[in-house]
Symmetry: C2
DNA sequence: TAGATTGTTAATCGATTAACAATC
DNA sequence: TAGATTGTTAATCGATTAACAATC
């Protein structure tokens, strides 16, 4: 999907794991460790050590043979690779339940990201603000993108509106979209689009449960182990 | 990850696409179509027709050569495969911003799913209810699972608590977990665990933006096309 | 030097895709 | 029968993994 401009094209799964490695590193750091081996770090994430090393190899050599990786150094490299030394401005489009929750969600307010604007088309909402962020009309998106230098759009609009809003975002100059609407978004190849499809994840679970049922495992009336442990 | 009990092991990506096919089918149905070809359906989802046919082939033969697929019939088959003819009971564990938003989120209240209980460890919340769903103490999980026949746990607790809560859920007999905490959950192989890692998705976008920047594309000060169209 | 652990290669595994025979 | 489109095979592509030489 996205072009990463490396010699070898970096798989998106690798980039995704990079951010998980970073999180695990920060945890190790909090515990006071200085150094970590690929085995320790990978173990934390249900990943093979060789996969971790392969993932890092796309970007350079960050370890010391015989020693492992310096935690602060590797963390810093990962932050750089992930672009987290910069500050990205986000617009949340669609101020419903989910949009409002994300606005207040800790994971979205980490270092590196700033929610710069909310947008909606409901006249009752436009003009007010939530958690100190102003709600603009969706038609203002092109101006906002320019004025506030917004790079990321989070789409929390209802499904029927999602495609049109995504098109508007792209036209406005947005280069990265995080889409929560259960709709496929089509965008030019230089635009990164990530889909978070909660209802679809749930259906995968449903499928799993149905299969368990077929295979004869009791579902719903489980044997609870004695809480002696 | 999950065992599906088929002759050929069904890849999880296939199951994920199945739920997207179903959604697209429902859209075609609303428009009044009777029949759809693999090319039309796949086109809607940026998927190759041969991939759609391959995905379906794991489960049976649902089309008619020369004709395509009957929309209501295929939709029904997909619902059956995905276990959506049944009703699954969900517990949302962690009644913060995200948990509350999901409670009210349309995608979680579709046919086939029912939010049967909320859980938290905050004494201020326990005992009250939200949107008509009672908030129990997290220690009640084992009883609730039995009494209310809960099969799915949605984890919206803070990261440090997530693993312990997941362990409790598994011990209580939960067979499917949808985890929103930025933590790797380890569970036995018969437990399906899906991760929704919003902060990680965001970092992938950040990486993409940083790469765009390196490759010389202006980020943040885009040329907005004239709105003549 | 001996032990540890990286970075990298090559083998394996699994998913995607094009192509086509089957058949409506 | 001719045209369309499926179901399935085989080829391709890409990601994972084991193994190991390099090197701290």
């Amino acid at each position: 999907m996205a072009e990463y401009g490396h010699l070898k094209r970096v798989p998106m799964v690798t980039v995704k794991r990079l951010s998980r490695y970073l999180r695990a590193l920060e945890k190790f750091q909090e515990k006071g460790f200085e150094t970590v081996s690929s085995e320790e770090l990978a173990g934390e994430l249900n990943v093979k050590p060789s996969q971790l090393r392969k993932d890092l190899a796309y970007f350079g050599e960050f370890g010391t043979r015989g020693m492992g990786y310096s935690i602060p150094k590797l963390a810093e490299e990962l932050r750089r690779i992930l672009g987290l030394h910069r500050q990205w401005a986000i617009a949340i489009i669609g101020v419903g339940n989910l949009g409002t929750a994300l606005l207040r969600y800790k994971g979205l307010n980490e270092k590196g990201f700033r929610i710069a604007a909310l947008l909606d088309d409901d006249p009752e909402k436009v003009g007010s603000s939530r958690s100190g962020v102003h709600i603009f009309h969706i038609d203002d998106l092109p101006n906002l993108v320019k004025e506030k230098n917004i790079q990321i759009a989070i789409l929390t609009v209802p499904a029927p509106a999602a495609r049109a809003v995504a098109d508007l975002a792209v036209k406005s100059g947005i280069k990265a979209i995080l889409n929560f609407a259960p709709v496929s978004i089509k965008a030019p190849p230089d635009i990164a689009v990530m889909h978070v499809d909660i209802s679809s994840e749930l259906k995968i679970l449903s499928h799993h449960l149905a299969e368990l049922d077929l295979s004869g495992e009791t579902v719903g009336y489980p044997i609870v182990e004695d809480n002696g442990e």
